[in-house]
Assembly symmetry: C2
Homo-oligomer: 300 residues x 2
């Protein structure tokens, strides 16, 4: 199986699960439910949930932990989606379109977009706790996954990275500052995805640490690659206009270090990430390593 | 000990715990930390965390479960605080002042206020999971408390109530619709507080159900009393202007049912709530019942 086909298979599993992520019996105002599902089902590559499932499979050697890992896979996609809705708000990046569709607040209004984001974030934690209460996931794994998600998505994680980005606007002048922003705004949810998959599959503490280090490098490389694509990407492949970072005067890795050094950094990080994973004693690390290679070479 | 002194003692315990609620070692951007603590330490009666601790004591008969209940007590105050920050935003209620102080977005800007709210909500879940991982709270209780919080604060709970409120603005014409909004926007977090305290203290399933029913009535009565105080309250006692609901054309219980019927409803709900609690077989329900009486007679 090619890496692309493998990722597509996992993404398909996630897609089906997301359709029923809000319990049908829950008494949710129809417009709020609609706003939540609008952004959740707006497409996207499902990179984070795919990494959750792939990490579980790398640890276990087969798909036997997918059932246990799926709630964390959906949870990270809910958190990612909420962060996009809030980032797009007029008070933040003020974006009208995402993935070719009007942003949440353009369709549902600002108030409903804020609430839809709040509700998606809150529901992510329900999925994990409920998985443990229904016996799908062990209590120990669920608690560790919950603590990880709150730390890596919160004030010292993704939200912290977003805050640093806003506070530093135009004022970021060093790679060190930009590394902080990229690590937290982007890499932390990637780290969560990998360790959550590992925990659901019963990985050892050493394996969890290796998955986290893999994720830190992969996440940073992923964001630098993203910065690069905004400069060198093909608009038809990307499905969006390039040059948006330059137009919005966003400080990026290529802006500070140059394109050549950015390419080298992505390669160095990817190489290191793959080495760490190979030494972690996982039963079947190959597809996860293949995903790392794929993400670093992607053109969209 | 009077009910007021008891509540003040519990609120003092919560206040001290909130000071250290964000781990000192966490790498949080200073301005984000400041924005979070600004609203968290802005005063307020700490009704919800006091109810968590009081419920634990009612079940156990003494304060021996306070240590286990404290993380949920802080968590509900974080969630309540985040909801106030987001509710005050220009896109929502557009309020400039709360408890006599400029609202979060007036001090830190809209973007930082949104992020501070997101981070407070996220951190609430960290407190509960961490309490279990450190052995302060049992795994079973922590998972049930997490699932409850996500359900009662999320799309089918507090956020759902807030969405219904926004969607219904000026369009709410029946007590049935207003009851939905009050139950979810206000009562759900009160229900969470009581059941979380009960779970931390090892209450039986029947006791949890009784605490939830007590909370539903208490929360609804609390909000109707709040509506009434906006009409009949003393501005000096309240520390804020009355008549704000009328000025903003907010549909309230007194507006729909009249003051007299509102007073009757508060009394009926409080009476029912107290009866349920007395029949729940709690070791020491008296102080919790005293709090219900106190909240219903409060003039601020």
């Amino acid at each position: 199986m090619t890496v692309e086909a493998y990722m597509a298979r996992l993404a398909g599993m996630v897609e089906r699960e997301l359709d029923g992520v809000l319990p049908a019996g829950w008494d949710v105002p129809a417009r709020l439910r609609e706003a939540m599902m609008y952004s959740l089902k707006a497409g996207g590559k499902r990179v984070r949930p795919v990494l959750v499932l792939a990490a579980a499979e790398a640890v276990r050697g087969d798909g036997s932990a997918s059932e246990a890992a799926m709630p964390a896979a959906c949870a990270v996609e809910l958190v990612h989606t909420y962060s996009l809705i809030h980032d797009d708000l007029p008070a933040m990046d003020n974006d009208d379109f995402r993935r070719g569709k009007p942003t949440n607040h353009r369709v549902f209004g600002e108030a409903m977009a804020i609430l839809a984001g709040d509700a998606l974030l809150t529901h992510a934690f329900h999925l994990i706790a409920e998985a443990a209460l229904s016996g799908r996931l062990s209590a120990d794994a669920a608690l560790a996954i919950t603590a990880d998600l709150a730390r890596l998505a919160g004030a010292s994680g993704m939200v912290g990275g977003q805050a640093a980005d806003i506070l530093g606007e135009q004022g970021v002048t060093t790679l060190e500052e930009l590394r902080y922003i990229h690590l937290h705004k982007t890499a932390d949810l990637i780290v969560f995805s990998l360790t959550a998959g590992g925990r659901a599959a019963g990985a050892s503490a050493g394996q969890i640490e290796a998955l986290a280090e893999f994720g830190r490098r992969l996440g940073l490389a992923f964001q630098i690659r993203d910065d690069m694509l905004d400069v060198i990407g093909d608009e038809r492949r990307l499905g969006k206009k390039t040059g948006s970072d330059e137009r919005s005067r966003k400080v990026t890795w290529p802006y500070l270090a140059g394109l050549e050094a950015s390419r080298d950094e992505v390669e160095r990080l990817t190489r290191e990430a793959k080495e760490m994973l190979r030494e972690a004693g996982l039963r079947k690390p190959d597809l996860l390593i293949g995903i790392a290679d794929y993400l670093m070479r992607r053109d969209r």
